[in-house]
Subunit: 187 residues, 2 copies
Amino acid sequence: MERLNVLALSGSLRTDSYNRKALQIAKRFASEWGANVTEVDLRELDLPIYDGDIEAKGFPESVLKIKSAVEAVEVLLIASPEYNHSISGALKNAIDWLSRGDNSLNGKIAAVFGASAGGFGTVRAQPHLRQILEALNVLILPQPQLFIKTAHEAFDSDGSLKDKKTEERLKKLVHQTLEIASKLAQK
Amino acid sequence: MERLNVLALSGSLRTDSYNRKALQIAKRFASEWGANVTEVDLRELDLPIYDGDIEAKGFPESVLKIKSAVEAVEVLLIASPEYNHSISGALKNAIDWLSRGDNSLNGKIAAVFGASAGGFGTVRAQPHLRQILEALNVLILPQPQLFIKTAHEAFDSDGSLKDKKTEERLKKLVHQTLEIASKLAQK
């Protein structure tokens, strides 16, 4: 079959974001598996905050860009931080735009994971993210789930995860998601 | 490929339960699709409430029975009522037993839905059910989701749903789940 197309997305924007770092590892695993991998950077993209009055005038360029980027792939890799027990406003706003007009997320398959400096590693945000994405018909594997805790100590200077078991789990998450996506893409 | 095996389960026990009724419709759709369908009746089964001291003496006969019934199938149909904003203790207790020893639910695919007499149709219980089942590596399609509200008025005397759109949605839920299960069962 043809190669799977994957879009990677971090819900946290700062340059040294742990989720950006984890996402780079996930992207590498997806490439090694044999997928075409691209990334959309929410900071660079600079989406407006969703506003029905903006939408009424037509989708802004940045919205069209992320909608077509998502529509062009079968699989999403989403790294989400946890802000106040849920996902970031940045990520929620991107999802809200993606859901407008034709739901660009419809039928996608996603691998979701997250990193936080605290001791729970986004364990409260991820059920929210799953529930939101399920509302938009995105399939997410039940397991493995991945929570990178004490993320300020989790990465080596080369960007890899110090704990090789966690890295292995991230690899499993990405590869299993791609394998399922590949099976479901069969006619 | 071989026929898929399906196990149906209602989280509500009373004879005239709306969830039992909805489950019978779902079973019919699964049979029509071509699956082997059986049901486990939690009232007849009469599982003890989970107790680590009982477990330490070995699984009771009823627990072994439901564990092997689940292990023998690829797909579950689960109708869940909503009690106090979550799933019933009956259903949670069954899941708790199934998770003990080897997790009997591991790798299963489930179609979940629910009925309630209120105006929300189990919309608060179902995210709980999904989160619990995901913890046990059960795959559930993101959509369609099905909430049968005002269930005391929803069924005809022959057990069918009065609203044919809702019945069609239940059919879609069952058939799509079986189609995905069938694709994933391919080598």
